[in-house]
Subunit: 350 residues, 2 copies
Amino acid sequence: MDPVMDPVLTRTVTKLSDGRELIYYDETPGHDRSAADQRDLPTVSTTSQLRRDPLTGEFTTVAGHRQDRIFLPAADQCPLDPSRPPGRLTEIPAADYDVAVFENRFPSLAGDTGRCEVVVFSSDHGSSFGSLPVARIRSIVDVWADRTAELGQRPGIEYVYCFENRGVEVGVTLHHPHGQIYAFTYVPPRMRKMLEVATAYHGSTGGCVACDALAEERAEAARVITSGRYFTAYVPYAGRWPFQVDIVPHRHVPDLPALTAAERDELAEIGKDCVGRLDGLFDGPMPYIGSWYQAPVGAGRAESHLRWQLAALRRAPGKLKHLAGTESGAGAFMNDIGPERAAAMLRGEQ
Amino acid sequence: MDPVMDPVLTRTVTKLSDGRELIYYDETPGHDRSAADQRDLPTVSTTSQLRRDPLTGEFTTVAGHRQDRIFLPAADQCPLDPSRPPGRLTEIPAADYDVAVFENRFPSLAGDTGRCEVVVFSSDHGSSFGSLPVARIRSIVDVWADRTAELGQRPGIEYVYCFENRGVEVGVTLHHPHGQIYAFTYVPPRMRKMLEVATAYHGSTGGCVACDALAEERAEAARVITSGRYFTAYVPYAGRWPFQVDIVPHRHVPDLPALTAAERDELAEIGKDCVGRLDGLFDGPMPYIGSWYQAPVGAGRAESHLRWQLAALRRAPGKLKHLAGTESGAGAFMNDIGPERAAAMLRGEQ
């Protein structure tokens, strides 16, 4: 146990029975986090390999041990619920929790290929990110920032990617509201591309491509959904997804840890607002991928500009965007909804 | 009408009632292709735009007119079936056909953004690529080659991408066996990346990265599925997909038109064999994306090496590979099945 106080959350680091870390982030002090994992789990055996494709130079992670991971368990078997001994023992031994982070039992990245963490947003199985109180989302922002800082200090980690897959349509295997963090030993291709473009732009103009794009979006306004003092949420001019919302800080901030408390406060409000707008578009919850783009570990800090991208996949009631031949095979995205129309719909205008 | 004879197929170019081209490719001569489209279709209005994302430099195609395209019609409403006037008028006015190609009525690319074609593999609605006779697949190879050559001569076209999306899991909106061709006015990102890598490799070694990778795969043999005189089919060392099969010519061939008749004969056999192996893995047809990678129009011919990639998405019975956060957001692929194991399964060894 290693309770750490910060201005907002109390962090308690514990271990599960197989040696994986479990970290409680409590919104109020004084919780007893000594409940032991009563399961007798075997040590996780991972065989992840990074393999470089000679034709593209890009890595594929081959993780053969993941085929047997838990797949859409019944609600009363959810491994992210609080434990109720003796019958219901889960990944979280406590009877309740606020936000909990643990090492994935079936990680894609482990050992010398990186680390995968699960971020459980709430002990309430039936909740969702967009229906959480703003205060909880504010806590999750702090958790993302804390994990970014901590994982970035581990040897070999070059990029910390915080994300949320939401909805079975995206391939979610557990319904309980949660996100994930992949700590990579390399800068993933999309982030590398963005950093290359930002670096070239900085070199030729002295400015930040994301700052300038944000200024243009704010001036044009046609694709802006909502804007505050510190952040603007907009559907980008060249958005790839049916309903893509980029939430971008006005200040040139490289990563989550660099956000001020006031910025985090507003980010929580705008994030909840935007996910709520997505959920309200059609019948039922919106499947989306929420991605945090930030500076790599100890590199590109001057050029990187933090960005939260919500990529929503439903293009109409009952119709999903699929990544078929042109997107998966060619890398060329086709968007059937004009970004201006998507923004108007998200503003509630049509 | 412009009947063109080639050694194998008879090509007849016609027009649909809205002015779109329809091209019959007949396996035997003498068919009357004068049947007129009796529908009174309005001219297709397209609003496709290429928009460049400032953060990545990549294009997104925004095609707002596609939202209303036909979506999984009942079998008796299939627009790819032969026409049966007066009641059943389809995209193909003839009472029967072998292979037919027509301009997509709801194209992502049109006018100055390119051209989208549909390639109908058979008049038999209930058939599929893998269940076609080898002779028909041989014809389809010729059609792909012919379309590549013809579309490449059109002004502004820089890349001809032939592909097949198979299965509703991939987002297919019509069940009738068919593929698609996108003629791009730019080289799509994945092909551009492959060309960059091949060019750098050629510059530093004087060789072809695909030739050398093929030689290594053939020498190691662990991931080879089947091999002939002219082609080898293998699961690549760094394959991205649960069951990825790359079918690669032994000869350094830049594109489909450059294949000899003998190569095309064998390609048809190996292609049918490989799709059959994919369909036989689990219960029911395998969803896959079949992509042709070839040289851009009039560029990179010395460095490019033709490749047919079958990217199969089912990783286990009832379980699909989804492109979630790490793939879609970060561009980093996680493969839960080792390529060696996938190849063994495709060879029927386990």
